[in-house]
């Protein structure tokens, strides 16, 4: 018999706790495969967020630290400064990175920390039960914006890639999606490139991955994927926003 597919060695055997139709599991897989293919799993150190991915430290098959809410880039800075040879990455949601952790992500980028950030944007607070996030779309209904997010007062979504790409010391900033197979394949290439740049000591790299939350969006898994394509991507355009190697 020939093996045609197997779970990445970059993931442990712990069953993922994510809801049906959530794309966190796919994103975990892409990160894990990238670390294995680049042959850096043994020197990888993950920093887990607070939010849906809080148990990432149980899933990635490498050393890990659990950070306080929003502080993952600061924790990662401490780790990387002690072990410059380690491949250090944070895995953060939109509440963690774009709200409470705004100062930490902006300043890690400003310092050009040689880290990789996987930023999972599903436009809502998932773990706490579907509250409004800084990335919630205008008009999107959440448990704390039940009439739909109001542009005046509740504001419009923060576009983190666009914001961070203005920071001089960043190396690579890109937004990807995993809502279909071609996009997923492209996302994998992008994530792998972000880690490759860290290996080459090029500095701060961030990949924003648009992700689904069928549970809190109140959509079926299929409709949630469609919502990413039709509703989220027009607000969060995919692409490379910064690339020190040229392009973008």
């Amino acid at each position: 018999m020939k093996t045609v597919y197997e779970k990445s060695a970059g993931l442990t055997d712990v069953p993922l706790h994510y809801c049906p139709g959530c794309t966190h599991g796919i994103i975990h897989k892409l990160v894990a495969e990238s670390l294995v293919e680049l042959d850096v799993l043994g020197r990888a150190i993950a920093v887990a967020p607070v939010g849906c991915a809080v148990f990432a430290y149980d899933y990635f098959n490498c050393d890990a630290q659990e950070a306080a809410h929003g502080r993952a880039p600061a924790v990662a800075t401490g780790i990387k400064r002690v072990h410059p040879e380690a491949i250090v990455f944070t895995y953060q949601g939109d509440g963690d990175l774009a709200s409470i952790g705004m100062a930490e992500i902006v300043h890690a980028a400003m310092r050009g920390e040689n880290l990789t950030v996987i930023f999972v944007n599903n436009a809502i607070y998932g773990m706490t039960g579907g509250q409004m996030a800084p990335t919630t779309l205008v008009g999107q209904s959440t448990t704390t914006s039940q009439l739909g997010r109001n542009r005046l007062g509740q504001g419009a979504p923060l576009r983190m890639c666009e914001l961070l790409a203005t920071i001089e010391a960043t190396a690579f900033i890109a937004r990807v999606s995993v809502h279909n197979v071609p996009r997923l394949t492209a996302a994998k290439r992008t994530i792998k490139k972000a880690f490759q740049l860290q290996i080459e000591r090029k500095g701060f790299s961030l990949v924003e991955v648009l992700s689904t939350c069928p549970t809190n969006w109140g959509l079926s898994p299929v409709d949630a994927l469609r919502w990413v394509e039709q509703t989220m991507i027009p607000v969060f355009p995919l692409g490379v926003y910064k690339d020190v190697e040229g392009g973008a």
């Binding site: 050393d63 890990a64 630290q65 800075t77 002690v82 380690a86």
Partner: protein, 355 residues
């Protein structure tokens, strides 16, 4: 090493490097700025790293990352900044990460002022952040002791896998005194850091995770009980204090740090006036030297607690004395340092003399 005239903040920074600290993360705040300035200048010379964080919140989380990666790491701040660090200190205690924190206290509450204070005693000794935990707190009274305790702090942190705080005030931080850095030799029996995240290739394959999340209450209770078993061990082994002229004292002054120095001057003046005062100086504020009071309690007519606060250590002294003798209090706050004369007056009043 020769005796060098140094500022207190510099003595603490130099002692940290002497003790093998190679990582410093911090944010500027008066009156402790000489510590980050010294570290930013001197750490690169010994292969170390200084990072100026965007806030105290970020700084303490950088400390968490570096401590979890196995390094000897220091941060320093002053009262409002230490308040901002409390979330991170709770995580450090919960995840059992060793690190050294320096608080050069200034007056509060709020933005308060930049003059010396001891009003962070409760915050330092009773936990400070959320949840059940303690940090070990060392309170130097002079610059030599500040340097020595800073070196000791790194060993204690590693021994107990716990944050250790050097709690001083703006007076200690800004004062100049001769200091001789003692040759540092780490304690021989410090446990290996076989829990630090280094990458599995470096550690032999088994995953290491730094974490303070326990969603199952029975596991969390077990974890907290284990932390408290560790604190009990600290209480047995790490209590430090200094009695001074207590044997014949009619009044025992209890003071730490800067106020203990002033109390010593006051005691000299008292004794010239025929007033027999002594000093019991806690050096560890947590664990507090409760048992030391048993050695001195028989003789004095009462105790006088002197602090640069409205009375915080006072509570622990009352617990130690347990109603057996009167406990009086004299405090100045807002950045005002009490004079020896003010303390003499208090002693005289306690012993029934006129002013």
């Amino acid at each position: 090493m020769a005796r060098t005239l140094m500022k207190g903040n510099e003595a603490i920074a130099a002692a940290a490097i002497n003790a093998g600290c190679r990582f410093f993360f911090g944010y500027p705040i008066t009156p402790q700025n000489e510590i980050p300035e010294y570290m930013s200048r001197e750490l690169p010379k010994v292969g170390g790293v200084y990072v100026q964080a965007e806030s105290e919140v970020a700084a303490i989380n950088m400390v968490y990352g570096a401590a979890g990666a196995g390094a000897r790491v220091l941060t320093s701040s002053s009262s409002p900044g230490i308040s901002l660090m409390q979330e991170g200190i709770s995580y450090l205690a919960g995840a059992e990460l060793p690190c050294v924190l320096v608080n050069i206290m200034r007056a509060g509450p709020g933005l308060g002022g930049v003059q010396p204070s001891q009003a962070d005693y409760f915050q330092a000794t009773k936990g400070g952040g959320h949840g059940d935990y303690h940090v070990l707190v060392l309170a130097p009274a002079n610059l030599q002791e500040a340097a020595d305790l800073t070196q000791l702090a790194f060993d204690l942190a590693d021994r107990y896998r716990n944050p250790v705080m050097v709690l001083a005030d703006g007076m200690i931080g800004q004062l100049m005194e001769p200091v001789e850095l003692s040759p540092y030799v780490p304690a021989a029996d410090l446990p290996p850091k076989d829990w630090a995240t280094t990458g599995t290739a470096a550690s032999g394959g088994r995953r290491r995770v730094i974490n303070s999340l326990y969603l199952y209450p029975d596991q969390l209770e077990q974890h907290v009980r284990a932390l408290f078993a560790k604190y009990a061990a600290m209480e047995r082994a790490e209590v430090r204090y200094e009695p001074h002229q207590c044997d014949d004292a009619d009044v025992v002054i209890v003071a730490y740090g800067t106020t203990s120095r002033i109390a010593r001057s006051a005691i000299e003046k008292c004794r010239r006036l025929g007033l027999r005062a002594g000093l019991l100086r806690p050096i560890t504020l947590y664990p507090f030297p409760f048992a030391a009071f048993e050695q001195v309690i028989a003789r004095p007519q009462g105790f006088l607690v002197v602090e640069m606060s409205m009375g915080q250590m006072l509570d622990d002294v009352k617990i130690a004395v347990a109603g057996r003798k009167p406990v009086a209090f004299y405090g100045r706050t807002g950045g005002i340092v009490p004079t020896p004369e003010e303390i003499v007056k208090q002693v005289r009043a306690l012993l029934g003399g006129g002013p």
